[in-house]
């Protein structure tokens, strides 16, 4: 009784406090609305001075090398000031919807091309960047594949891709020489190669699915591309096919053939930890993205090579994973012109080259004008690898959603532990996926 009194009193005080906040923000909004009326309905602050203020670039590149590389690319930007905010990737992922939908969003943001960007575009949160893709715009010379990847459902372009990377089966050249083996061309050769390595006492495949269970989707994606083809793969991830189907079962049948060759300790490792056995020549091969070179000791990087995941059904177009990174701009940006100018700068061949070289990654430039002759032989091979490819996919989560990725993580790590339990795993996967698509 008596305590309820104090809380009612406090409640009034609390609502008064909220009211004060409202009044304050009202003042700010009022300040901006009397300039020339065009920003009257937004609550943005000080519209005129702000529109010419520094462009805000929100970045998820928090690893030291890529961060420093982006900073130095921005230092070369002369057309205005840029404020760079770097946020750790986990937080960034969670906050991104909030950034984009806030009334005063960061102008330019790092993120991924493909269905993730398309989803935001369909909600009206991304700035139309079509003008950069036309005439002498910064992205006009990019490939058709990149253009369609960067387009929203309505055909406008909403993304500026600046680099991408490839996936492949990575190995150490010197180790393969020691063991007297060659990269495999066909799927049967590959299985024979694994068998051979295992008899020599080498773990054929390493894969860190402990802290990073998404790595297990690499083999799933590739085997689906090889067994059912890119078209089915995309449709499956878009929810048009069931995971509990004979096609997906066929994928897991192939997957089950390599499970005995995968390092069982990988279940406790992250993808970075799983690189160590490869470097120490205890494990032979690793299906992973080109970012693997960041974790290989510098003196061993030149010894790293890769080969294509072997073809299983030669009648299907060859699909490869090539996740594309880049930038988009917020639709609510108060400085759309500044944002586009900055995006143009980031898309320039020089900027791309500078970023790739300084970030120490093995990423590929999206602009064909970048002089790639100075890049390492590995990267040259990666460029050629993707040029020979018929169709490009992104990766499980980028082709679907992070939420569907968690269903894949559960299903596939469970499958790696119990490859015989396919029926129950696929049934559960499908019902989990249905919840995602309904939600």
């Amino acid at each position: 009784m008596s305590t309820s009194r104090i809380s009612r009193r406090g409640f009034l005080a609390g609502s008064a406090a909220l009211g004060v906040t409202g009044v304050l923000s009202g003042c700010v909004g009022g300040g901006s609305s009397d300039d020339d009326g065009d920003t009257a309905d937004t609550s943005s602050t000080e519209a005129p001075s702000d529109a010419s203020g520094p462009v805000v670039l929100q970045s998820s590149l928090s690893d030291p090398d890529p961060k420093a590389a982006l900073e130095s690319v921005l230092n070369g930007y002369t057309e205005g000031d840029v404020t760079l905010n770097t946020v750790a990737i986990e937080n960034y992922r969670a906050q991104l919807p909030t950034y984009l939908s806030s009334s005063e969003p960061p102008d330019v943001l790092t993120w991924y091309a493909g269905s993730v960007a398309r989803d935001y575009a369909s909600k009206g949160l991304l700035l139309d960047l079509s003008e950069l893709w036309e005439g002498d715009g910064a992205c006009a010379g990019f490939s058709e594949a990149l253009r369609s990847l960067s387009s929203a459902d309505d055909g406008t372009q909403i993304f500026v891709p600046t680099n991408y990377y490839w996936w492949g089966i990575f190995y150490r050249k010197s180790a393969f020489e020691e063991w007297g083996v060659e990269p495999a061309e066909s799927w049967d050769d590959f299985l024979a190669l694994c068998e051979n390595l295992q008899q020599q006492g080498v773990t054929p495949l390493t894969m860190g699915t402990g802290a990073t269970p998404w790595v297990s989707s690499g083999w799933f994606d590739y085997l689906n591309l090889r067994v059912n083809g890119p078209e089915f793969h995309r449709a499956l991830l878009a929810g048009e096919h069931s995971f509990d189907s004979s096609e997906v079962r066929a994928v897991l049948d192939e997957y089950a053939k390599i499970v005995p060759f995968i390092d069982p300790n990988g279940r406790s490792y992250s993808w970075q930890d799983a690189v160590t056995p490869l470097v120490q020549k205890e494990a032979a091969m690793y299906l992973i993205g080109a970012f693997i070179t960041q974790t290989v000791p510098e003196e061993d990087v030149d010894d790293i090579d890769f080969f294509r995941v072997p073809i299983i059904d030669s009648s299907l177009p060859v699909g490869e994973e090539a996740p594309t990174d880049g930038f988009f701009a917020a639709a609510n940006s108060t400085r759309p012109e500044g944002a586009k100018a900055l995006l143009s700068h980031l898309a320039q061949p020089d900027s791309q080259q500078q970023f790739i070289e300084e970030s120490g990654s093995s990423n590929l430039p999206t602009s064909s004008e970048v002089d790639t002759s100075g890049f390492s032989p590995l990267v040259q091979k990666g460029i050629q690898h993707l040029e020979e490819t018929d169709e490009i996919t992104q990766f499980f989560n980028r082709d679907s959603s992070d939420e569907l990725q968690t269903t894949a993580d559960t299903a596939l790590t469970r499958f790696l532990d119990n490859p015989d339990d396919v029926d129950a795993i696929l049934a559960d996967w499908q019902s989990a996926a249905e919840r995602v698509f309904e939600g």
Partner: protein, 309 residues
Amino acid sequence: MSSTATVSGQETTGPPRRRPAAAVRRVPRVVWLFLLIPLAIELAWVFWPAINSFSLSFTRWSGVGAAENVGLDNYRNLLDDPIFRTAAKNTVIWTIGFGGLSVLIGLALAVTLNRPRRGVGIYRSAIYLPMVFSLVVTGLFWRVLYQPDGAVNSTLEAIGLDGVSRQWLADPDTALYAVLVAAVWRQVGYIMVLYLAGLKGVDPSLEEAAAVDGASAWQRFRYVVFPQLRGVNTVVFAVTVIDSLRTFDIVWAMTRGGPYDSSQLLSTYMFQQGFTLVNLGYGSAIAVVIFLLAIGFIITYLVRATRED
């Protein structure tokens, strides 16, 4: 606090009694200010968001655009969600395991280390030491121990228990318990210190008298010492229940609820849904369930505590 509350109640109902009214006049305005400001902040930053999460739990919202009202759908989905059921079961196992083990071991250590002996201070500090690490650091530290070729497995192999060694955190049968051991390892020192403080208040002459009367060590502890620890027990019980219900960081740091959701707690599942996948409605529904559980515990506890007093 309670006196001011009574006073303010008296003030508005306008009772004829004089004294409380005089007391109101004696409370300086600045004190009211000091009370009201934190209260306003608490309401705006704690209660208001909490109420919001109740209303969010009836919607479907990804943080973008308008929230779509779905009524009780989120709660209905919770009932059908196998991961939620695992998480709920694990939370019960966790509360019992974490509470039971840390209290039992903490009490045993406190009783053992209560008597002055040479080097007892070193033992006490060594056991308390893990408490100074944050849960995340504890988690990372134990993850290294649990690695396939880490200290736990090599110790087991060294003493000839090769068959027992396994991938503790990657095995769905052991992951939750492996995390539980790490959490208890850290909590034990804290409980021990609380009990050590309690044991200082135990009258040693009673125990001596019981010994003279021929009571065994167990009887002396059970019937003489333990009843005198009632006050500390209350504190320990509250601390333990609260700590086990809010457990999140150590599980997240060690397994992220994996492998395949086998070590998911309600708190980690809520975080995953709400903040990794940005299903704010569904995450809020889980948060509401956690809230109801916690409130249930606290009310039962408060009712019992007030009744005993």
